[in-house]
């Protein structure tokens, strides 16, 4: 699965699974799930060295979903890759006594760290990348953050350390969908000069259309070539991307579909998938 078209088709399928999961469970953070899908699909189906049969392989690439509320996409990908049973996920997610909590938990195979409280993923990823350097291992460490999350001061503590230690085995992706729970990021706490801010911390900065698979694919390839600098990919995305009535609408941060909306969302994605066959 290396062509952009293959990845686009997979992204479409993962979106459908994610929508089904949120609809079935009656909860979830669907808007951010949709915006981050291309990044996660490119990582898990092309770039990351990870295998459910060797989930504890010390040489595996590491991934931390720092924007842990968008866990549904991650769970659907891990299920699709065989880390756990897809039907168990679909039928128990967020239900009484389920092991599938509404944020990533490392008791679930394939999940490296617990997240959900924002501003943790990057500093933890710095520790993982430092460990890789100490042990002279080739694994890479990835984390996906939200753009609203960048208001957390701990993100910048981590950014400072990653630049200081020249962690070129670290790649952060910012899901820059410009919306957070209360409105636009620019209204809530503006993220001006994002590229320049990371650059000033010594980062290799790439800015791409984050829901355009060829662009995110290309950026991840470039990130792998960085020497002496961690890479941040500012993935300019659209919240709710892929479903017309959800796109760029803050109210879909964690809104749940009614039956009609669910049918429409699935129909739109089925149409898209058909065009990619």
């Amino acid at each position: 699965m290396n062509t952009v078209k293959d990845l686009e088709r997979k992204a479409c399928e993962i979106r459908m699974d994610t929508i089904k999961l949120v609809y079935t469970a009656g909860c979830g953070h669907i808007g951010g799930d949709m915006s981050e899908t291309e990044a996660l699909v490119a990582l898990y189906y092309k770039y990351m060295n990870c295998n459910p049969d060797r989930a504890d392989d010390p040489d595996r690439d590491r991934f931390i979903l720092s924007k842990g509320h968008s866990v549904e996409t991650l769970y659907c990908i891990l299920a699709d890759k065989g880390y756990f049973d897809r039907e168990e996920l679909m039928s128990t997610y967020c239900r009484y006594e389920s092991r599938f909590i509404g944020h990533p938990n490392n008791k679930i195979p394939g999940v490296e760290m617990n997240s959900g409280s924002l501003g943790h993923g990057l500093p933890v990823a710095v520790g993982m990348a430092l460990a890789g350097k100490m042990d002279r291992k080739d694994y890479r460490v990835y984390t996906v953050m939200g753009d609203g999350e960048l208001a957390e001061g701990s993100v910048w503590e981590g950014a400072m350390a990653a630049g200081h230690y020249k962690l070129d085995n670290l790649c952060a992706i910012v899901d820059r969908n410009r919306l957070q729970i209360s409105g636009t990021t620019e209204e809530v706490m503006s993220q001006r000069n994002l590229e320049e801010r990371f650059m000033s911390f010594g980062w290799n900065v790439l800015s791409v259309q984050g829901n355009h698979m060829a662009s995110i694919d290309g950026a991840l390839a470039v990130a792998g070539e960085s020497v002496g600098r961690p890479t941040v990919i500012i993935a300019n995305t659209v919240k709710g991307w892929g479903v017309s009535f959800m796109e760029d609408n803050a109210s879909w941060h964690h809104k749940v579909f009614n039956g009609e909306q669910y049918e429409q969302a699935m129909a739109e994605l089925q149409d898209r998938r058909a065009k990619l066959l």
């Binding site: 760290m113 617990n114 997240s115 959900g116 710095v126 520790g127 993982m128 430092l130 503590e157």
Partner: protein, 309 residues
């Protein structure tokens, strides 16, 4: 002998790091106050400086631990315990990473520097986190044994030590140490004194002074504040009277925990000797202890008062 507990811990780490390359010490511009300068110089490849950023310190330590390292995050207890509480909760306790959080200059070690530099809420704050263990060793010998045990067990833990050299509580080569089991320093039936950290020495001296007056006090070193040794607390409760002594504020510390246990399982009279629920007076740590009665003389007074009633 009189050695700071932090130095004793560093000595163990120095010894073990020679052969155990997974040991990594992290500091937040705190290598001097943490007695980790020698470690940083001798094992630079096993040392990480994160600058003045305690949240980052804990998260990076957790990331290292998640990749197989035995991470020891060293920072003043005041900053480590509450500024980084969120990271301790999520990245260490909840994610169950092999991080030893070493809170140095704990309690009121910094004396006259004031409340910003005092850690008198750390037991209450971190003790409330599921999966977080808390240890307050009383002397260098116990601190060494504890460190060796923690390097082996792979579970999260917070260790609080003071800034100053402390006299030995135990005798060299005769230290009864069992992980998560309190040490009974003295047996007695009239009452029990339960202390932790550097208050144990005061409790020991109080026990000796009481004995001279014909009062037989059981003295317990509860270095394992969490998980607390319930059996030892029940043993203390059987005397009918307990005095707890700790370098912590009134709410949520050793005394509160002892009261919870005894109230539920073996009610008895308990007096908590603690720091007050206010910013403490200005002074050296010794002056602060004396002001609030955290010394052997006051423990003796309280014990006699309890027995009179």
């Amino acid at each position: 002998m009189s050695v700071a507990n932090k130095q004793a811990i560093c000595n163990v780490l120095m010894k073990r790091a020679k052969t155990d390359k997974d040991i990594v010490v992290l500091c937040s511009d705190s290598r001097g106050s943490g007695s980790m300068v020698d470690f940083a110089e001798k094992y630079p490849e096993q040392f990480v400086e994160v600058g003045i950023a305690e949240q980052n310190l804990v998260s990076i330590a957790a990331g290292l631990a998640a990749c197989g390292k035995k991470a020891i995050a060293v920072s003043p207890a005041c900053f480590l315990s509450t500024r980084s509480m969120e990271q301790i909760k999520v990245d260490v306790a909840y994610s169950r990473t092999n991080v030893m959080l070493l809170g140095i200059s704990g309690g009121v070690s910094y004396g006259a520097l004031g409340m910003t530099h005092h850690s008198t809420s750390d037991i209450a704050a971190l003790g409330s986190i599921p999966g977080m263990r808390l240890y307050l060793p009383s002397d260098r010998l116990q601190a060494e044994k504890l460190t060796e045990a923690l390097l082996e067990d792979g579970e999260p833990a917070y260790v609080r030590v003071g800034r100053n050299a402390v006299e030995d509580v135990y005798e060299e080569d005769a230290l009864p140490f069992e992980m998560n089991k309190a040490t009974v320093l003295r047996e007695g039936q009239d009452l029990a004194i339960i202390a932790c950290g550097e208050m144990v020495l005061a409790a020991k001296r109080a026990g000796q002074a009481l004995e001279k007056q014909g009062i037989h006090a059981k003295v317990i070193d509860m270095y394992c504040v969490k998980p607390m040794d319930e059996e030892a607390v029940m043993g203390a409760a059987r005397t009918g009277r307990i005095i707890t002594v700790e370098e912590h504020s009134f709410y949520g510390g050793l005394g509160s925990m002892v009261c919870q246990l005894t109230a539920a399982k073996s009610p008895c009279k308990v007096v908590n000797l603690t720091l007050p629920d206010t910013p403490v007076i200005t002074g050296s740590s010794r002056e602060i202890f004396d002001h609030y009665g955290l010394n052997a003389e006051h423990i003796v007074r309280v014990a006699k008062r309890m027995l009179e009633k």
